[in-house]
Amino acid sequence: MAELAEKTEAASPPGEAAGTPAVKTVELTKRFGHTVALAGLSMTVPRGEVFGFLGPNGAGKTTAVKLLLGLLKPTSGQGSLLGRPIGDLRTRRRIGYLPELFRYQAWLSAAEVLALHCELAPLPRSSWKDEIKTALETVGLTDRVNDRVGTFSKGMQQRLGLGAALLGEPELVFLDEPTSALDPVGRHDVREIIRGLASRGSAVFLNSHLLSEVEQVCDRVAVVDHGRVIASGTMDELLGGTAVRVRVSGLTQADKNRLSQYGRIDDEGDQITFANLDAERVPELVATIVSMGGRVYEVAPRHQTLEDRFLQLLEDEEKA
């Protein structure tokens, strides 16, 4: 087996390649035996953007992050972070990472874990105190600074991991399911932290299957399924359509099937949602339902949500 990428630190001056994207991949592929975990991922994440990487469980999201961080070796393809090839040690000084499987030394205190990451980053020792203080304040763990990590709840450990990822004002932060162990307040805090990173000019690569979370903070999104990107673009590009919810009675299953000519249907009994329907076609839709003998109580057009679009994409992918 070939060695994993672990390039030297030579020839990479600070601020180098500032005009290059935060993340760029070209046909990045990873196979585990016969299983294709990532199939030809090509994408670009501009600097300073919050990029949402969406997909169902097992879609290849975490594999992509691990490939980019040099924890896995690509089967083929290329990638770069901040203008340097993946695996470049010096680039890792400018990157923060909260793993999906977050775990920190249970025998250390929160401050000691952060000091360890300051040391490994490496940050100047004179800055550690302020860095640790700021990180703990940001993730709301100031009052647990000297407590052993072993006494922390899972949510608190995830907060600590987020704090570690923020040390040293990284130019690029990978957050892999950063709210999986957090309560609603914690999720709100994470969104605020992500917005703070973006306002500071850091790029954020957000791996998530929590669509509302992505919808609220991301500038750009890629949807991945079975190791392939099936859609990507800005939120506006992705969510251009209108979803229409109709409250109706008196329709048979056959009638509902015929209504699929108006696009993908989310059938919840007497409530049917058309995931992507041009607003101009709403009167036609209502007329069709009435002609079928249906009784219409409510028609509510609304902007398509990321969830609507996501489910539609997966369904299209399934059919294809």
Binding site: L4, G70, L101, Y104, L116, L120, G161
Partner: protein, 287 residues
């Protein structure tokens, strides 16, 4: 501090914070105390006519008993090293502990060497500290000190380091419990192979002798143990066993010759090879 030393410090810190060092200290003090009491009893043994044993006889009995005690101490040290080294890498990979750290500008070789250095320091210090304390206790109880105490402690520590290195190599690929068990079984098999080699010497059977030689090369634990034995034996005992010829060599608790220089050079090479292999194995592991 360079990452390799950070990893070493972290390993020592973990052992300390998890109270492994405290547990070892307490157990060692108990064992040394009890064995000192036992050794002291040798000096009170009398002949059938009621007269005390002459000092030469006390020294001989003490030296033999010390070999048995050291064998057990060496076994406990090797066992502990294997148990601690087994999950050294794999445990942190499986738990995810290494994920965030390896995303930092840290080479995997620095992780492997750093962890080995940390544990090696603990094994060496423990072997020197606990072994030295035991020798001091025996000296106090009986007035007997082995002829080569420094060499003795060095061989015992090296024996522990062999198991530590093997456990860590296996830990780069296998789960903690599997790596630890394999290391322990390998250690026992190497000892048994050494005994088979002794029997071969006694019977003047070249094939059986070769079993011992090959086992010493593959896993030099038993070869190092023989060095420890030699360092404990009084000259009079060695002379007596030499007089017995090949029969005197057929004893797993005796050594007539010190380990050859070639073997000691091989041991250095063995450590270098196992560490290199560990680094390569971990660098090619996908996490």
């Amino acid at each position: 501090m360079p990452p390799v030393l950070v990893m070493a410090r972290l390993t020592v810190q973990e052992s300390s914070r998890r109270r492994l060092l405290l547990a070892l200290l307490i157990l060692t003090l108990i064992v040394v105390g009890v064995s000192a009491w036992g050794f002291n009893k040798i000096t009170t043994v009398t002949r059938s006519d009621g007269t005390p044993l002459p000092p030469e006889q006390v020294s001989l009995i003490t030296s033999q008993l010390l070999i048995v005690v050291t064998f057990m101490f060496s076994g406990v040290l090797a066992l502990s090293a294997a148990v601690v080294a087994g999950p050294l890498i794999s445990g942190e990979v499986e738990s995810g502990l290494l994920l965030a750290m390896l995303a930092r500008p840290v080479r995997r070789s620095e992780v492997v060497i750093g962890k080995w250095l940390g544990l090696a320091a603990l094994v060496t210090l423990y072997a020197a500290g606990a072994g030295g304390l035991e020798l001091a206790a025996v000296d106090w109880a009986t007035g007997y000190l082995p002829p080569h105490p420094v060499e003795l402690l060095a061989f015992v520590a090296a024996d522990g380091l062999v198991l530590l290195s093997l456990g860590m190599l296996l830990s780069t690929r296998l789960s903690g419990i599997t790596a630890g068990v394999i290391a322990l079984v390998a250690w026992l098999m190497a000892w048994i192979a050494g005994v088979v080699g002794d029997i071969g010497t006694g019977l003047q059977n070249q094939a059986l002798e070769n079993v011992g030689v090959v086992s010493h090369l593959l896993l030099p634990a038993d070869g190092l143990w023989r060095g420890a034995i030699y360092a404990m034996e009084p000259d009079t005992l060695i002379a007596a066993m030499r007089a017995l010829g090949t029969a005197g060599r057929a004893n797993p608790f005796a050594a007539i010759e010190p380990p050859p220089t070639e073997f000691l050079v091989w041991v250095v090479f063995w450590f270098a090879a196992v560490l290199t292999l560990s680094v390569w194995s971990f660098r090619t592991r996908e996490i």
